[in-house]
């Protein structure tokens, strides 16, 4: 029998917020977390603004032993902070390092897009080029292996079920949540630590700048740079961070009296095959629509039941297509689309981490009963004007019972999730 899967813990390190309560405040206040980045300017980037988390390298003794700190990098710190915070938020105890207890029923799928390019470029490359292989030391492999983030968290939390890292560009962490959901749904695990991370380094962002897909016309006014849905959007603002959720089957969660944020009631993962207008860098619109309809069908709901859509909206040419795909897939007139906002307008595009950070944002809004303002959308793109009524441009109170989250990535890959607020009597 398929299990019902619920979310019992949230953790986040985002631009402008090092924990869930700071993230909630950021969204509620509608403050842009985008700031000017001197290292981008010095390196000659066209775009010199980013969503760059700060302060997350402080108080690390609350997360790691001093011995562990010798062998962690940015990506591992971001992920571990979010994972441990989510674990504690779920009311679970961080295991003692000396205890041999293993959580055989709990696993982790934690993804990344670009891995630890900073470690590769600063520790591996110079030593290899100088012929100093010994000088690489013992901890390079565990920091540059793509599974570094899931492996680290698996050790910190003594996880004994599947522990792995996934990658599907900017769909990555939504995919991680969906794969974790399916694992629990099919009874292969009782609990999963799911999400993703992207490290804060300019190597991760340089290739996008070279592609000229980053926002470069607002270097002097960073708070205006991330403009999803806007007519004057000229690319996305890159970011870094980590978002992690704890998923459990309903029975396991209820047995231990866990607080339940929401139930995942439908998901879809697919790709567009680089056909029908899709390519390595653009989504096949039919595949996007199929992902939406598949998730809605799996959830067993009607389009009209959706109270809120947290879109992928990045501030690129793709925004008008995404919103049209929602309308087409849901068979809803543009003027009737449920409320929509773009969390990237506040924090930028955190790449692999976007799906899970924005899921934390979605669940926070659901729990606290508000919709955050989509910033810099005062001048809507002409193709988005028909949806004007649905774009949340000022924060407002909202009773969100069913919400949808979409993520799309290079490679023509899509992920959609439907969440339902959990009612105590269920």
């Amino acid at each position: 029998m398929l299990k019902r899967v619920v979310i019992t813990g949230l953790g986040v390190v985002a631009p402008g917020a090092n924990n869930v309560s700071e993230f909630s405040r950021l969204l509620r206040e509608g403050r842009s977390a985008i700031t000017r980045q001197e290292d981008m300017a010095e390196a000659g980037f066209n775009s010199q603004v980013a969503g760059s988390p700060t302060g997350y390298m402080e108080n690390l003794d609350q997360y790691f032993t001093s011995e562990e700190l010798l062998a962690v990098n940015d990506l591992m710190v971001l992920t571990s902070r979010a994972a441990i915070d989510a674990w504690k938020d779920a009311g679970l105890e961080v295991p003692d390092r000396k205890s041999d207890h293993v959580h055989w029923d709990t696993g982790a799928i934690l993804g990344t897009h670009l891995g630890a390019l900073d470690t590769v470029n600063t520790k591996l490359l110079p030593n290899v080029q100088a012929g100093k292989i010994r000088r690489i030391g013992s901890s390079a492999v565990e920091q540059i292996m793509l599974s570094s983030l899931s492996a680290k968290v698996g050790g910190l939390l003594a996880l004994g079920n599947q522990v792995s890292t996934n990658s599907s560009a900017c769909t990555t962490s939504s995919e991680a949540i969906i794969m974790s959901y399916l694992r629990i749904r099919h009874g292969l695990a009782n609990r999963m630590v799911a999400g993703g991370a992207e490290g804060r380094n300019i190597f991760n962002w340089a290739g996008f700048d070279a592609m000229r897909v980053l926002s470069s016309k607002f270097n002097e006014t960073p708070e205006k740079a991330s403009r999803p849905l806007s007519a004057t959007a000229g690319g996305f603002v890159p970011g870094a961070g980590a978002g992690v959720v704890i998923l459990e089957d309903l029975e396991t969660a209820q047995k231990r009296g866990a607080t339940i944020y929401a139930e995942i009631i439908g998901t879809a993962l697919n790709s567009g095959g680089h056909r029908m207008g899709g390519s390595m860098t653009a989504p096949n619109p039919i595949s996007v629509q199929r992902a939406i309809t598949d998730a809605v069908k799996a959830a067993g709901i009607k389009a009209a039941d959706i109270d809120y859509i947290n879109g992928h909206f990045t501030g690129t040419f793709a925004d008008p297509y995404e919103i049209a795909n929602w309308s087409t897939a849901l068979q809803i007139e543009p003027s009737e689309l449920p409320p929509v906002n773009a969390t990237k307008s506040v924090i930028g595009h955190t790449l692999a981490a976007a799906g899970s950070i924005e899921t934390v944002g979605l669940l926070t809004q659901m729990k606290e009963g508000f919709l955050h303002a989509s910033l810099n959308a005062e001048d809507l793109h002409e193709k988005i004007l028909p949806y004007e009524k649905s774009i949340v441009r000022e924060r407002r109170d909202a009773d969100i019972r069913i919400a949808a989250k979409s993520s799309f990535g290079f490679g023509d890959v899509n992920g959609v999730m439907i969440f339902r607020k959990f009612e105590k009597q269920e």
């Binding site: 032993t65 001093s66 011995e67 010798l70 062998a71 390092r97 010994r134 000088r135 030391g137 013992s138 901890s139």
Partner: protein, 81 residues
């Protein structure tokens, strides 16, 4: 440099890698780096690199393999400086 001075520096270098800090208080030449101090064996690579930097010496892989106790480390370093 006296043997005691070398030993103090060796212990200082090892400190961040030590997982059994209880045994740090009673370190002697016979203290085993892996079994007594619970230094992760793969980290010995980094410890040897730190010895090289601190004492300005070079340590071959064969010499590194023979270092098991604090006394082994002190003797190897003393012979090289």
């Amino acid at each position: 440099m006296t043997e005691n001075e070398i030993k103090d520096k060796v212990v200082e270098i090892l400190k961040p890698y030590v997982r059994n800090t209880d045994n740090l208080g009673s370190v002697s030449n016979s203290t085993h780096i892996i079994t007594d101090l619970e230094v992760n064996s793969s980290r010995l690579v980094d410890v040897i690199l730190a010895f090289e930097d601190e004492f300005d010496i070079e340590v071959s892989d064969e010499e590194a393999d023979k270092v098991q106790t604090i006394g082994d480390a002190v003797a190897m370093i003393k012979a090289k400086i």
